[in-house]
Subunit: 124 residues, 2 copies
Amino acid sequence: MKLTEAEWQIMNALWQKHPATARDIMDRLPAGVNWAYTTIKTMLTRLVEKQAVGEVKQGNTSVYEPRVSQQKARLSAFRSLLDQAFDGAVGPLVHFLAEEKQLTAKERAELKKILDREADGKGE
Amino acid sequence: MKLTEAEWQIMNALWQKHPATARDIMDRLPAGVNWAYTTIKTMLTRLVEKQAVGEVKQGNTSVYEPRVSQQKARLSAFRSLLDQAFDGAVGPLVHFLAEEKQLTAKERAELKKILDREADGKGE
DNA sequence: TGCGATCTTCGACATATGTAGTAGAATGGC
DNA sequence: GCCATTCTACTACATATGTCGAAGATCGCA
């Protein structure tokens, strides 16, 4: 499930609260994204075709619902980034994060904590 | 500096060793990427236009050199992912990484190892 | 019940992206 | 010097993406 940039905007708004109408989504788009109503409809149509979103009519109005979870979409995007820019491995990414100082001590600690929990709680 | 998927392939090959000719790059592309020579040339031309790559003629042959570092390109891609899919913050990504069962035990272990090393090696 | 507000469906169009063929110039070995 | 090989510069073209506008179907309220 590969989403384009514009599609991410729509999905983000939809995940926030759903089901939602095109109008709802329009109102929830970040300030600065000032798309025409029909632009949003076009995006939704394409997302429905892609099966990323479900559509049900209520009276004359379509109501939308995500069909892919945010988690799944994130995973897909994350994997793509990894494959494309980090040799497909988490290691180079973590190194990068460390060197770029993108990770604060707090975040690092949190990540470790959660990883520890993961490790014994449910190691595979 | 936003690179497309195909452009990443070229850049990855170029960063590997440079300067390099189109032919060099062609040989270094991952198996499975079997582009025609002219396809690679087209990509290179576009990358030069974008100032992502420098070009110098040697005889009748162009020799290419990256103009953006891998580090910079990675940062840009990483930022894009964050903005687009993770509310623009590292926190949600860290969470995601931790929660995601899709990460193999190996990757998790590696992550932890690096985090440990980072932790005492250089406090920030 | 009539009208403005709102929806929907279609079509359109520019730019971006992926992928490559052609034609002509330069090169190098014989 | 000549020819096959290899380059470069152009052009081309399909599909993807970002953005709507127009026209007609509906709804809800005065």
